[in-house]
Amino acid sequence: MEEIKEKVNENEEVNMDHIKLSMPNKPEYVSIIRLTASAIASRIGFNIDDIEDIKVAIGEACTNAIRHGCNKINDTYDIDFFAYEDKLEIKIKDTGKGLCSLNIKEPKAEDLKEGGLGLFIIKTLMDDVKFTTLQNKGTIILMTKMLGVE
């Protein structure tokens, strides 16, 4: 938790816009978040490919927040966008049981498992991903996409 807080404070000194979103933990709203994220990314100046990457990554993170990260039935979770001139940071914070393991492995094609792709996809599509997890107090995922980086 500390690490991310410090990061945010530091950010506030540079030119950064903060957009906050709080969403019900319902599957039907994830597409709205993806759309909002696309619009923000497009405003910053990301190209279509990067916008797709951001869309998929935020979709996966919200899916996890809903599936694993919400305790109560009518729970909500938070999405924070930090829009810089040269990057977009997205923070997704839930109040669930916390991540059990931060050991994200490349999926083995032969295994044919239905799950376990989400975090790997996020790590692959974004330039930087940080997890903060507090047992039974939720998970924070902070992911960054840089503008104009391959």
Partner: protein, 106 residues
């Protein structure tokens, strides 16, 4: 923001053709799963998925495809995926699923 799925059985080639329109995500994946497994139950044969109008798929949707494939593998059948858009093609590549399904350019 929604999902529609067109299904038809090609009697000549003895193959199911499924064509999803829209987005397969945490919200629409259950419906996709129901249709996919139902199709397999009705007639156990190879399946072609035409991705031309599939705009978005996430890990939940990929999971459904994998569970369908598992079912088909029991009787040595397969899933072929055609016409994928570049953004979705990329997902199959990074997850290695392009080696698990038969993914064709056209």
């Amino acid at each position: 923001m929604a999902l529609k799925i067109n299904k038809l059985f090609d009697e000549e080639k003895k193959v199911w053709i499924l064509k999803p329109y829209g987005e397969i995500d945490i919200y629409t994946a259950p419906k996709f799963k129901e249709i996919l497994l139902n199709v397999i139950e009705t007639r156990d044969s190879n399946i072609i998925i035409d991705g031309k109008d599939l705009e978005y798929i996430d890990s939940t949707g990929l999971g459904v495809l994998i569970s369908g494939l598992k079912r088909l593998k029991e009787t040595d059948k397969n899933i072929t995926i055609i016409n994928l858009r570049p953004n979705i093609s990329k997902l199959f590549e990074i997850t290695g699923l392009n080696k698990v399904f038969i993914v064709k350019e056209v």
